[in-house]
Symmetry: C2
Subunit: 449 residues, 2 copies
């Protein structure tokens, strides 16, 4: 005990003094913490030292590995083909997983997708899937393999067996102001994704008002760290830097986003949704060995949408996982919110900016999100935008509809939303959605290669 | 609870991002921690952020104040005169408090001294006093005032009422590698000293192998911080930077140090002990308003030793606090150790260096110190040096005697001691014991003014 205590203190001291920790030291620390042999007060001091002094690439890989091997690492070797997944750092209205997973699977690349729930201003893929009546995201790992083998696709939630050290560490980081650290975020993301049994990974790293990373430079640093970690595990890893200056698409809220995804799978989604889906899918199809380039992958993705394969794949997986397929065929039959409140423009001009963070928080107030992990969400609530960046508006014209079943926070939500939307006389300069591509060779301005 | 949690996290975030905490924020944090409203894992993250990013002078004063007012702050207003104490950052063989307290009290300056116990390689004044059979350091605060009023002197241990937040924080710092921070150390020292009800304070800040601060630059920074904090509370504060390259005096160990102190009070102590006693006493007498300068204070201190007043004062306080005064009159009657082991020089030459830290650890192995707070010490054990820095030695000549009642660690102690003493052909360059004086106006090369 005394020796053990001394060891942990000496490890904290090393990181505090900005010295490098060896892979063995990091492994010892994390595995002891996962086994309850290191108290939270020591780990939080270490996390703060890591936060302030950082982790170099070798330390980051060791940290990821320690969290990865704190739990089960799936072996999907029995399933033919290169398994590819995507991870997004999260944004408002980001329903791309719902479109891309069936698109890529329809193109013959197995997609073993383990997703999370929403917290704060961003939604979670799991919550969106669960808005489809009957859809079961809690499959055990045998069933996970079986569904994947059958459909090239499976959509589940994180199980207790996946990276348990990450789960404990994340909870501790949340209450000790040690969340927003690039190596700690990267380790958390990659340990969970690597546990899925993937061969390659595509990352959507977002920056801007609605993203976890407000600054582009931070997003680039995170993308580079993620790629380095992925490659150090022998997994081909491609990251795209994407702009989250306004919500993605027009719909924010769990069922609303499923609805917009179905539109997209029918080839009728908003431009930003379709563009991002095709590029990320194209990259996954390329990494999955079914296309010779990202551009060719994008063409295959477009075909899978236009010929209906992608929508059929989505319908199949909904059916396989117990969801009500009639809602996929007829989304208009979904239960309606009690209140649909119109938000009107207060000025003439152009939509100059939309603060995505505040729009996400407004959706949360309406019932679409969670303040804490224990909160329940209302699948039907959310926001439907009528105007987006650069659109001309007249005073009194509809900016958006707020959907909810609870009037308690409707005023708060409307206030948040009105503050989020700035109308000006000038047309704003709109940045491209996709900023750059980052791989092991560096940063590329060209999105495809 | 949720609001409270958010507040603490936002305070941690501020310090993490190297922003300044307001006095109110620091007060809220420390008082909530003292009331068990902030969990250790949050406080340790904060301590690490404070350790790495530091605290400016205003924050340091607020931190000290928060710890000070977490407990009782004594009011000694009913006792006439300016109350003055001394604090040393601790060293090996540092028994100066035992000499200086009676010297200063004998010169008419009240000395309300609350001391600590030893831990690790340094001894504590309390343990030394308790080696005097019967001496009671556990007086309550009423009795503390009474003894001080009667003798201008009282020597007690820290009570539960004094700066309880510091006690809790120190225990947490000890296991989270956040001890060696200048503002945290300064806050810990000053909160305890200011609680004593003093009007002025003299500080002995040590540097070198046997000191808490190995580097002179760190010791200077600590001294400056201590002076700034003291002055910000309206207490005149003087610091002396002193060299701890070798143990102070010839005797290390609890009773051995009392013995050497009695020699000193008889005017027959080693030169370094006498020099440091006179300078620190002189500064205290000056701050206590009984001398017009430090130099004049030094003269008064020398007189108090030569005319026997200081030794009589020591005898009086031993009697008042229940100690056996026959041991003060006849120290040679003290019980003897079972083993007195001679350590011989292995080479001819000069004592080139003595690593005070290792000598302190050797004394600990013999029974004079504690590895952990629960360890018991043996008052009779310790080390008597026969040679000090610069002394010529012949191979086979006695370097020191190790005193102990337990043979178990005798070999370890001898090995530590032999390693600590380097004998070389050249005479070493010996730094002066007193390096400089630091007050609110800055650093002064002249020790007196």
């Amino acid at each position: 005990m005394s020796v053990h205590k001394l060891n942990i203190v000496s490890l904290i001291r090393k990181k505090r003094d900005n010295e490098e920790l060896s892979p063995d030291e990091i492994k010892t620390l994390i595995s002891a913490y996962a086994k309850d042999q290191v108290p939270d007060y020591q780990m939080s001091a270490m996390l703060m030292a890591m936060f302030i002094n950082g982790l170099n690439d070798e330390e980051s890989a060791a940290f990821t590995s320690a969290m990865l091997y704190s739990g089960e690492v799936l072996d999907l070797g029995s399933i033919p083909g290169l398994k590819v997944d995507k991870h997004s750092t999260g944004g408002v209205g980001d329903k791309i997983s719902l479109l891309l997973a069936p698109v890529v699977a329809a193109c013959g690349v197995p997609v073993p997708m383990i997703s999370g729930r929403g917290l704060g201003h961003t939604g979670g893929t799991l919550d969106k899937l669960e808005s489809i009546t009957g859809f079961n995201v809690n499959l055990d790992l045998d069933r996970y393999r079986e569904v994947l083998a059958k459909h090239n696709l499976v959509l589940i939630g994180q199980t207790e067996e996946i990276a348990p050290a990450d789960k404990r560490l994340y909870a501790l980081r949340d209450v000790t102001a040690t969340v927003e650290s690039i190596p700690l975020i990267a380790g958390s993301i990659m340990s969970k994704k690597l546990a899925e049994g993937i061969d390659a990974l595509v990352l959507d790293v977002k920056y801007g008002s609605g993203a976890f990373m407000r600054e582009k430079s931070d997003a680039i640093a995170l993308a580079q760290k993620l790629v380095k970690i992925g490659e150090s595990f022998g997994k081909r890893t491609l990251a795209f830097l994407t702009n989250m200056e306004q919500p993605l698409g027009y719909k924010i809220g769990n069922w609303l986003e499923v609805e917009e995804s179905i539109d997209g799978l029918r080839g009728k989604g908003p431009d930003d949704i379709m563009e991002l889906t095709y590029v990320l899918s194209g990259a996954m199809i390329y990494l999955g060995g079914k296309a010779a380039s990202i551009s060719e992958g994008i063409k295959l993705a477009e075909q899978a949408v236009s010929n209906g394969d992608a929508l059929r794949k989505f319908r199949d997986i909904v059916e396989e996982q117990g969801g009500d397929t009639s809602l996929i065929d007829h989304p208009e039959k979904y239960k309606k919110p009690e209140i649909v409140h119109e938000v009107k423009a207060r000025d003439d001009g152009y939509v100059f900016s939309i603060d995505a963070y505040s729009v996400g928080m407004a959706a949360l107030e309406l019932g679409a999100g969670r303040r804490s992990k224990e909160d329940r969400i209302d699948p039907v609530s959310g926001i439907v935008l009528e105007k987006k960046l650069g659109d001309q508006v007249k005073k009194g014209e509809t900016l958006a509809f707020l959907h909810t079943n609870n009037t308690t926070y409707l005023n708060t939500a409307e206030t948040l939303f009105q503050k989020a939307v700035v109308i000006a006389k000038d047309i704003p300069k709109i940045e491209p959605l996709l900023n750059c591509r980052i791989d092991k060779d560096g940063i590329h301005e060209s999105i495809t290669q």
